[in-house]
Amino acid sequence: MNWNWDVVDDFMPRFWDGVLVTLQALVLGSLLAFTLGLVWAIAQRSSKAWVRMPVTAVTEFIRNTPLLVQLFFLFYVVPEWGPAMSPLMTGVIGLGLHYSTYTAEVYRAGIDGVPKGQWEAATALSLPPVRTWTAVILPQAIRRVVPALGNYVIAMLKDSPLIAIIGAFEMLGEARAYGSETFRFLEPITVVGIAFIVIAYPASLLIRALERRLVR
């Protein structure tokens, strides 16, 4: 065991840079996942088969294939016929898209949990579909699924080091770069590993508390 605290001190400034990038990817990725997921969930309830079927097929495909390969696809294939994106941007889109297929299931369960009478009441008041969704169904559905969405944010946090592989300097990326410059891998990777547990554990406690408050 040759642990050296000086190396830890030396790594710390870059670690905090990495934390910032991780949080950035996490916040932007979550926003994308929450929005896209809602779009998928509503599209999957559409009465038109040409909307419902392709969306179901695509989300099923994205959910059951590895995020890492999807990141490679976004990073190497998409620029061939689209805009070239920075590694972080690619990572945000990859994480957001991948997890949107999970949040879609969460929203679906939440929407299914809204009692049928609420839909009937909206029909009886002859609310247009947009008002039915925004004023009646979604406020009730989303309230119940907030803790489940939070769980996926934590899951996304644990998948965020994957964006280091396409070259984004988040926590693991910084540790890897530091390691290959100084040949010290033990300290930076250990620090990063502990950081993930230190962030994820209180976050999951917080979500359990939320769950008790919001879900009756």
Binding site: M1, N2, W3, E60, F61, R63, N64, T65, P66, L67, L68, V69, Q70, F72, F73, Y76, V77, E80, Y102, E105, V106, Y107, A109, G110, D112, G113, R144, V145, P147, A148, L149, N151, Y152, I154, A155, L157, K158, D159, S160, P161, L162, I165, L172, A175, G179, F185, L186, I189, T190, V192, G193, F196, I197, A200, Y201, S204, I207, R208, E211, V215
Partner: protein, 251 residues
Amino acid sequence: MTWGLWESYMLPGIWITIQVTVYSAALAAAVSFVVGILRSSPLWIVRFLSGAYFEIFRGASALVFMFWLFFALPIAFGWQLVPMWAGVLALGLTYGAYGSEVVRGALAAVSPAQREAGIALSFTRMQRLRRIELPQAWPEMVPPFNNLAIELLKGTALVSVISVADMTFAANLIRFTTNESAPIYTLLLVMYFVLAFLITRGMRLVERKAKAGIGQAPPPGGGLLGGLRRRTKTADPVTGTAGAGTPGGNQ
């Protein structure tokens, strides 16, 4: 992509992916059962340690742990793992933690009267587990294990970054050689999807057998396009938290 590339890179890669999946699934299953059972032990210290294992590995990132095993462990203790075993160990221990929650939840869902009957017949704790609780909890575990197995299969792509020559590694090599990224990555995604599909089919058979074993009706088939994942009430495979009670926690 030519036949030569396919034969020399991709076919061995597929075999490596299958091997990594099977080995880490076996390790994860062993860990799930041991930790899941110990988490309801009467001894508080055993409960505490297995609970700590669950919380730590659920909070840890599989990729970071794999990197740690690959880069830091040799420096720290002088143990150099073969890359494939570093990958298998990281995946097995991480997904084993998620699986332990599945086992714990399914055991807790067995009706208390069953356990009490076992006590009344003066079964030992081991006998109760083996003869009464596990056989009844097992069919409940299969659908969440199916979802976890798909997550594990997706996780095996990570071993490519510690230079294990799996499908993803082979695809990267082929991209370097042919400089055509679109066909190869599309094909790679499709191959993972097909493997996930095969896992689901296999697990359906297991579930059918398990349900028949305790005299329950087989689950509805769902058809070919019924989706790969089973919606379960016991546990959420990605977050590892119990899903019961939260509508969204169901997968």
